[in-house]
């Protein structure tokens, strides 16, 4: 009975994923400004979610291991970390492709890009640690300790990363803890220089032209490949008007606030892709995709944990 149920679940998963792939290409409508590349979010975002969940599960099993010293808990922690790393790589690659096509850059040191890179480094270190300790109980113990220790630094990353960049190209800022995403304030009489993503911006002037307010901002692209003066404006109603494009990129600068007498201006990045999920069809496919990728990760994790546990049983005389 259980066997048959498990088989049915697996077949359903196979069909569901095929459905997601079909829907991703042929059901989800094109989003204006993103082209066909916008479809990638149907796999990109769910894999990123699964990554975070897998790492949380791995840390929990590491704590359990330190309490129980059971090989099963260790195998589960490793399996979860491996599945997490696999999905993390997938999310990074799909994200970088999307960013190149839509934003004009593979890598932007966007807060989420930074944190996922650190996550990859942490788990690379986790596996390096495991391979350089021979004694099995010690290997398991040290790996569990490192997993927990690394987990404690994650909140700091979330806290620090938005300060690395005061803005993000990713939509849905609210999911990013501690992030303001309100752009960066520049002051002619104080901090003139700031950073949006990895672009250095320097405020040159703030001026009133008729019923528009404009700011002159010099932008220096990473590696000083390009520098340019951008002049975003906003109108009397307080809405951004002219949105000049960054040199060589496909995202734009907007002016959110400006105070001519004080000499201050607040500017931000605006990237295409915001508001993608407001389409009903896209939203439903996206939800189904989250669910399907979640179950796929669960299945992978179960297989891997079983194999790891059985292998460790052969290598040690540990009790069942």
């Amino acid at each position: 009975m259980g066997e048959r149920l498990a088989m049915t679940a697996k077949i359903s998963l196979g069909l569901a994923m095929s459905g997601i792939i079909y829907a991703m290409f042929l059901v989800v409508p094109q989003y204006v400004g993103l082209g066909e590349a916008g479809r990638i979010i149907i796999v990109h975002v769910p894999t990123a979610w699964v990554t975070s969940a897998a790492f949380a599960v791995s840390a929990v099993f590491s704590i359990l291991y330190l309490r129980s010293r059971s090989g099963l808990h260790d195998a589960s922690a490793v399996a979860a970390a491996e599945v997490g790393t696999l999905f993390c790589l997938f999310a990074t690659v799909t994200g970088a492709i999307f960013a190149q096509v839509v934003w004009g850059t593979f890598w932007n040191w966007d807060p989420r890009e930074t944190s996922i890179l650190v996550l990859l480094l942490i788990y690379a270190a986790y596996f390096a640690l495991r391979s350089s300790v021979d004694d099995v109980p010690r290997k398991r113990r040290l790996a569990a300790v490192y997993n927990i220790f690394a987990c404690v630094t994650m909140p700091f990353l979330m806290f620090v990363a938005p300060r690395i960049a005061d803005s993000t190209l990713h939509p849905n800022c609210a999911f990013l803890q501690g992030s303001k995403c309100e752009g960066i304030s520049l002051d002619l009489n104080g901090a003139k220089i700031g950073q949006l993503g990895d672009v250095v911006v320097e405020l040159k002037a703030v001026q009133k032209q008729g019923d528009m307010t404009s700011a002159t901002v010099e932008v220096r692209m990473p590696g000083l490949t390009d520098t340019a003066d951008l002049i975003p404006t906003f109108d009397n109603a307080g809405q951004p008007a002219d949105r000049p494009e960054f040199p060589g990129q496909s995202f734009r600068m907007i002016l959110i606030e400006a105070d001519v007498p004080a000499g201050t201006a607040r500017v931000n990045i605006q990237a295409p892709g915001t508001g993608l999920l407001s389409n009903q069809r896209t939203l439903w496919v996206f939800m189904a995709s989250n669910l399907t990728f979640g179950f796929l990760a669960l299945w992978l994790y179960r297989i891997r944990a079983t194999i790891l546990h059985v292998t460790s049983l052969v290598q040690t005389t540990e009790a069942l």
Partner: protein
């Protein structure tokens, strides 16, 4: 070649490629899953068959007070 790169056709081709890749991965996973189950069954059976090691330790109490 022109037909393949045509916008209307390309998306069907991309979808087919993705589907084929997924089906390949899926079949592979099904096989690995079955093999892992079988492996686990074999290992557990082997463990149950081989009795736990008999103690090869001899303990000798020499003075009465020691026991």
């Amino acid at each position: 070649m022109q037909v393949v790169l045509d916008a209307g056709v390309a998306i069907y081709i991309a979808m087919s490629v993705a589907l084929v890749v997924w089906l390949g991965v899926f079949v592979y996973l099904l096989r690995i899953d079955a093999e892992a189950k079988e492996l686990k069954r074999l290992v557990l059976a082997a463990r149950l068959q081989s009795p736990t090691l008999s103690s090869e330790v001899q303990v000798e109490y020499r003075t009465p007070s020691a026991n």
